[in-house]
């Protein structure tokens, strides 16, 4: 790992170099009073004032709607068309947060747990993650309780930490990260060992450990806590759609006469329709069962089956919820009691 220093005034020069060489650069831009990830064309497009974005950046590898393949029927022949290679382009995700970068690990495990999802993998391989350490946090942030942290380097290719009003520390972890440094080598100098990254990081109190949640819910399938917590839940998909780890999808057919395409689009376990059988029977018949699934999937099934947790503590679900289903609050209450 290399530690470098860049002057804050040079960061835009570096980013403009990246934008010139990399076909797809995604970064937070101003969105009303908040921020959202979007394609950027200029370094000045980046919005640094918001702690985080409304949506996660998962769509860079797992778009909300994507074509799996297209088909055309001509008499007895049917032709299939795969997604063209030019759809998979080198991508830099700029100013991701540590909770965004870590999220690609569980996503990658899900998309390779048994079937190797070629479309996801091809997109993900092309991504370079430039993460900015957090020097601020809001009341919804809880990354330290899920194993991350405001300066966590996990899964980032490079990490920028603003040290003071003049300079930032740039840590380079991978070959992909190094390639971005090489685009503007002259802007960097070796970092002095005395630089204290930890001193500038946000202080995010740990409220529980993910293992604690795991242990408390493993026998809690029949607990009354799910109904109590989910009573106000409206059953929309906002939490799942902004979540950096939620990967549930639906398969749809866009057919027009003799041609069409098969589509994969986001879905959510919060929807009643998600588990509704054709017969009308629904094995998750109420919101309590659906909320339980959400928590058990992330904190029990995923660690047990994939050896990774499904929550990075970004807090987006809580910020997006119309009825303030604050996940930290719910998880804290799970951690502080025994449920059977």
């Amino acid at each position: 790992m290399e530690k470098l220093i860049i002057k804050l005034q040079d960061i835009n020069t570096w980013l403009d170099q990246i934008i010139e060489k990399v076909p797809r650069v995604i970064a937070p831009i101003k969105y009303g009073q908040k921020a959202e990830f979007a394609l950027i064309k200029n370094a000045t497009d980046v919005h640094y004032d918001s702690q985080t974005t409304i949506s996660s950046v998962k769509s860079a590898a797992f778009p909300s709607t994507e074509t799996l393949f297209a088909y055309a029927k001509n008499g007895p022949d049917t032709k299939l068309y795969n997604v063209a290679e030019e759809n998979f382009v080198n991508t830099v995700i700029w100013r991701a947060r540590p909770c965004d970068a870590i999220a690609f690990k569980p996503m990658t495990k899900i998309f390779n747990s048994d079937y190797q999802d070629e479309l996801y993998n091809k997109r993900y391989e092309k991504i370079t993650l430039v993460t900015f350490a957090c020097n601020k946090a809001d009341e919804f942030c809880f990354c330290t309780s899920t194993g991350g942290g405001p300066g966590s380097i996990e899964n980032s290719d490079a990490m920028v930490t603003v040290i003071d009003k003049e300079k930032a520390l740039v840590e380079v972890f991978t070959e992909k990260g190094q390639q971005l440094i090489d685009l503007a080598k002259e802007l960097f100098e070796k970092a002095d060992e005395s630089i204290d990254k930890d001193a500038v990081l946000a202080k995010i109190p740990q409220k529980f450990t993910k293992e604690q949640i795991h242990d408390h819910i493993q026998n809690a399938f029949k607990s009354s806590i799910w109904k109590a917590q989910s009573e106000r839940c409206l059953g929309c998909g906002a939490c799942a759609y902004v979540c950096p780890v939620c990967t549930c999808f639906d398969i749809q057919e866009d057919s027009h006469g003799n041609q069409g395409r098969r589509i994969r689009c986001w879905d959510s376990c919060g929807f009643q329709l998600y588990t509704q059988h054709t017969s009308g029977y629904n094995p998750r018949p109420n919101q309590a069962a659906r909320w339980r699934q959400r928590i058990l999937h992330k904190f029990l099934y995923m660690p047990d089956r994939l050896n990774i947790y499904g929550c990075t503590g970004c807090g987006r679900c809580s910020r997006a919820c119309p009825v303030d289903m604050n996940i930290v609050e719910h998880l804290t209450s799970i951690a502080n009691s025994i449920h059977e």
Binding site: S64, C236, D250, V323
Partner: protein, 261 residues
């Protein structure tokens, strides 16, 4: 304990009411709370930040059973209850509908007429920001308006928070969930997002109570509340003041429009 908490706790203690739905302080704003015990009632609050339209819960089978439920809601909850009643979606004897006056005292509605009277005299003024935004869009050319809505609705992720937060979106099976035939494309794409909102607004026209919770629920803060508001204004211009019922499915021989005769 506040007057609201005291009254709510007393209602639960008397035993006639099994649960009270009201507001409690949330992380940043008030949020819905379900009080099952007098102890829960201590958390009840009421102020002008209590925006959630609690009537959304009154048509959910998993919440409403044979036990009587108390609701301490805002103006729009009362207005929605009237609409749900007129649409034969709720039995009023399952609920005790309440709101809170300026002095912090609970107002209890004994019947639908009392609710109608309250609603007729307490309608909050229209939000000037919303009206200004509508005026701005009205002044746009057809092309500009199309570009505006296409840009805005392209951002929609189809999480259906607008649908879920709306107390009048109570269909067991929403048109967008029907796939035989597939009326609407259920995936997120500019045109299908526009189609979805057009459907939502048309289904709301003449029924929407104007609570604005669809827009408040949108995680992407899309201006979808302008659509329901504008539709409400157009309905009012064409068919008169909100009275009751569903204006687009109410036919009278004396209607002034010729196409229907």
């Amino acid at each position: 304990m506040s007057k609201i908490s005291e009254k709510a706790a007393a209602l639960l203690q008397e035993g006639a009411i099994k649960m009270i739905i009201g507001y409690e302080q949330g992380t940043e704003h008030p949020r819905p709370i379900f009080c099952h015990t007098p102890e829960d009632c201590k958390k009840l609050i009421f102020n002008d930040q209590c925006k959630n339209n609690l009537a959304v819960y009154l048509t959910k089978k998993e919440i409403v059973d044979n036990d009587k439920i108390g609701v301490i809601g805002n103006f729009y909850v009362v207005k929605t209850v009237i609409q749900l009643f007129l649409e034969n979606q709720i039995h009023l004897d399952h609920f005790l509908i309440m709101t809170v006056d300026e002095a912090g005292d609970i107002i209890t509605f004994g019947n639908i007429d009392e609710m109608k009277q309250y609603v007729a005299s307490h309608e909050p003024p229209a939000n000037p920001t919303v009206l200004a935004a509508i005026e701005k869009i009205d002044k746009m050319s057809r092309e500009e308006r199309w570009a505006y809505w296409k840009t805005e609705l392209s951002k929609c992720i189809r999480c259906y928070a607008c649908r879920a937060a709306c107390p009048l979106c109570y269909c067991n099976r929403c048109i967008t969930d029907v796939n035989c035939p597939q009326w609407l494309e259920p995936w997120s794409a500019p045109l299908s997002n526009i189609e979805w909102q057009i459907n939502r607004i048309m289904h709301m026209s003449g029924r929407c109570v104007g609570c604005g919770e669809c827009a408040a629920a949108c995680p992407l803060e899309l201006p979808i509340g302008l659509l329901t508001k504008k539709m409400g204004m157009d309905i009012k211009d064409s068919f008169g003041e909100w009275k009751d019922g569903n204006v687009l499915s109410t036919y009278k021989v004396g209607d002034k429009e010729n196409f229907i005769h």
